[in-house]
Amino acid sequence: MTERISAAAAAHVAKLARLQLAPSELAQVTSQLDAMLDHFHDIDALDLDGIEPMTQPYPLVNVLRDDVVGPVLDRVEVLAEAPSAVDHRFGVPPIPGEAP
């Protein structure tokens, strides 16, 4: 079986997915992904030229809402669910960089 996904690529994917996987866990997932991707190449046999991708099962268009204010949530109730809340806001540890 050819290698579909390298260890480095899998590590990059884990980083993109924000999953801090232990080395053994990453190795196992990588080999499982590899096996799956290998299986998934069965579709390479299909001639898909000129076929439009299908993203939605039921074709709807222009589903719009009127610009009317609706109910809001009670912030006390919402912030009670937060792992950390300070001054009516959600607390997080230092953010390592600006948003992209």
Partner: protein, 489 residues
Amino acid sequence: MNAVDTHSDYLIEGRTGTWELVVGLEVHVELATATKLFSGAPNHFGDEPNTNIDPVTLGLPGSLPVLNRQAVELAIRIGLALNCEIRPSTFHRKNYFYPDMPKDYQVSQYDQPICSDGWLELPSGTRIGVERAHLEEDTGKSTHQGGDGRIHGSVGSLIDYNRAGVPLVEIVGRPHLRSPDDARSYVLELRAILLAVEASDAKMEEGSMRVDANVSVRRVGDTELGKRCEIKNLNSVRSLGRAIDYEAHRQVDLIEAGERVRQETRHWDEGDGRTHTLRSKEDADDYRYFLEPDLVPLDPGAEWIEAVRAAMPLLPRERRSRLATAAGVEVTSPAVAIVVERGLDDLAVAAIEAGGDAGRVLVHAEHNLAVEGAEALRPAALAGLTRLEVGGQLTATQAKAVLTDLVTGGGDGDPAAIAAAKGFEAMDASALATMVDEAIAAQAGAWAKYLAGDEKAAGALVGSVMKATKGKADGKAVTALLQARRAGG
């Protein structure tokens, strides 16, 4: 229609040659809707933290977005005002983790934006291309604790999601700007357009209009674009100009020192007047864009688009041209731009149409009406005032005083009556002529110089007439009489 690159007189003389600046602006504007882009939570600035939130705003599990019709309407208005094509469009998910983004993806238009390929005309007449304008949702707001409120060195951050989900239109300008002045002018013009179509309050200080500048430099004559830096944190039009100017020189210095410009995001620091590296773009982001499956395609269709077009107000460009035509001046004349910017062009055009003197109307609108209540001034009153002026019944100074009274009095007064009440009774022509003759007799020396062609000598003669009339005489009328006497009249 594409704008053309324009020649600019902003060039940087380096050690090794002359450099040209290339700027493209990306502007995010918050739309003036009542609710968010995808839910009924209020879109309102300045409220208590985390009060304008609902399940969709917070990206709660199970919540689903439904598109706000008014946000689409405003995006169409912006697109039409920027001469864009309004097209069928779709929404994608832009995936990246960030704590102020509740779903850890942003719903944004990607390869099929609602508005594409337009232009914006600066008051100078230069057209700047607009690549696209698309709808997307805003993020929440983080407050950094410690570290002087900056992200670096902070001990933690607090997040308010009131802003999350607020509708934005991102307007991506083409790199057609060639000077800091043009960049400023672009932003001011864009702001005027947004206000005109009532799409946004477009306040840079409050963040409802956020400008990022893509800046690069190249040697004059080069056609390839240089490596660009994106500058963020431009909180005023002034910062924008300063930041671009700084960045252009930084890049020229860098290249001339044999180094290369790295493609990166830079932060403008108003305090030290420099830009600083924010994050490198060397390792490219991977946003894993894919079509947002919780939304369906948007196709406004000709009927909706034409209805919006029909309801469009006059845009600043159209107002400038209307005023210039009425006043008989060049559309690019600064007075025209200023009067339109002040919103006094309706008044000015109406006053000219009501028989006012075009030149005097424009002068008053440009110089004497930047005051509260000016818009309430009755066009006929302004027209009447200018007729008194050109008829010689009021001097420029007197006219200004009358105008002030007109405005403070609610704009509805009669200029002649106000002038009379102020004692600015019109001097009749023969009385003025007599006083001119008296002045000539009293100041024979000055008259002799004036006869010899010394125009400055007229000042003393006019001054003496003014003194004698306690300023009621019209300086222009006096000068005209002097000229007539000299010519033998």
